[in-house]
Symmetry: C2
């Protein structure tokens, strides 16, 4: 069991990791070795103290060097969920691994893509965020996959191995995956409909040539870089999608702290860095 698990490898998570290490705590950090797609895409960062007008790529490179100097390695397993136990927490990965910790810092960012109408109400009834967890449930079925990033294309392949038919609705350019049973549809998904379970994925605009207004499907997979904190951790209090935290970054769940964009605006590197630092200090206090 480690002292703390950090979910997210953006600047909030990295700040927390560096500070936990300075405080001699054991921890795991889950995310991506490329750290954050959002930072990487930033053209210029004008207001981060200490780095004059760096590009997102330069910032990422500096952070990667720093992590490597500090011998901190990001665990790239995708997180399926975090569960508060009687004592401590268990993190389950989408690959079925388990990790235990005494405290948790959620630094999972905010999803810039809005939730689709009906999405939350059909979670567990046809809506899934995890290909490897739930893919087998859709053997020989028809599914829609809304995917926001090319990095998750391999998960689409995984789903196509099970499903009879896959409608892929990509939110990124240059789709590379090609399979006989995958049909790419470039339209904005608007609503998930159904009764007891998901029945249709409806689109936003008027039907175009060859694209129906709605797709009859058995399931909808939402493959996003980050998962909403409330879905990641049941019972977490949120407001408008943001985790409710105190000045010490504590959430309503004892031992669970949050930092960075997931706690609300401003969505700024400096703010995220500060909150990651405070969350790490609060974890150190909590562990006493």
């Amino acid at each position: 069991m480690v002292d703390c698990i950090i979910v997210g490898s953006g600047v909030a998570g990295i700040s927390a990791a560096l500070t936990l290490q300075a405080n001699r705590k054991t921890f795991l950090i889950f995310g991506s070795k490329s750290l954050s797609e959002k930072i990487e895409k930033a053209e210029k960062i004008h207001n981060y103290p200490g780095l004059s007008d760096v590009s997102g790529k330069e910032f990422i490179a500096a952070l990667q060097t720093q992590l490597s100097d500090a011998k901190i390695e990001v665990n790239e397993e995708k997180v399926a969920g975090v569960y508060a136990l009687k004592e401590g927490f268990t993190l389950l990965t989408q690959g079925g691994e388990q990790y235990q910790s005494r405290a948790v810092i959620l630094a999972c960012g905010v999803e810039s893509v809005k939730q689709i109408e009906g999405e939350e109400s059909f979670v567990g009834r046809g809506v899934s965020y995890c290909a490897t967890c739930d893919g087998f449930l859709y053997k020989d079925k028809t599914i829609a996959v809304v995917c926001t990033t090319k990095r998750l294309e391999h998960e689409i392949g995984y789903l196509a191995d099970f499903a009879e038919k896959v409608y892929l609705i990509p939110m990124y350019k240059n789709v590379e995956i090609e399979r006989e049973n995958i049909t790419v549809i470039r339209k904005m998904p608007a609503k998930i409909e159904g009764n007891l379970r998901v029945e249709n994925l409806a689109f936003a605009s008027a039907p175009a040539e060859n694209i129906p207004e709605k797709l009859p499907v058995n399931g909808v997979f939402m493959l996003r870089e980050s998962v909403s904190p409330a879905i990641l951790m049941g019972g977490l209090q949120t407001e408008n999608g943001h985790v409710i935290v105190g000045r010490d970054m504590s959430t309503n769940i004892t031992g669970c702290f949050a930092a960075g964009d997931c706690t609300g605006r401003p969505y700024q590197y400096a703010k995220a860095v500060g909150e990651g630092n405070v969350a790490a200090h609060s974890v150190s206090e909590f562990l006493k």
Copy 2:
């Protein structure tokens, strides 16, 4: 009238300045061109994301370059006080200048030297923080000057021009100032005593050779790098010397925000940078 006045040139103040500039707000920042004695003295900084194991001096140099690139200049006039008016704020300098703003960010740090017993109760009755404001009141009198940093030695000279006798109690090494009417005393001041006004400055330990237990004085000047926020701005709510702030860094005074060490622990660069950023965004919101 500028949009905002920032008091303090540590990382919290700098972060606020860079973000106000990014938000196209007009502002003044008061502090020191050498930014922060505290950062300068830091041996190594291990947990500031983006800068691997920099020394305090390197961090200061990076920040100075960034400010100069951004054409942000620190105003070195010493701040005597900030006053909330019916609309906006007035800052008075110790040199008697006035500056107006619509909002204020206090980023004045925490004084690592503790207050002396009796100090706060005798403010305005013999205790002063401002040589140029109050020096003339002590013409031909006897005063004690407790000075925490060599940078303020010139103020001692100013006081010695008026006073008949100056007892200098330095909290730094290598005292350079020499005057006939200045006596340097190397002891820990413990208590300011008196009735209606200051009468004595008492020391902590037993009287040593040639140093009495207490000095009979007409006034005590406390010359410190930073002034406690509550003394800087009357009516500000504090707790254990820290400004009480919300998640948006607002204080109990409308339009007045605070950031950095003055809002409480952890005293960390990352935390200060984050809070400066949030305070600047809150100012932008407030100005709407």
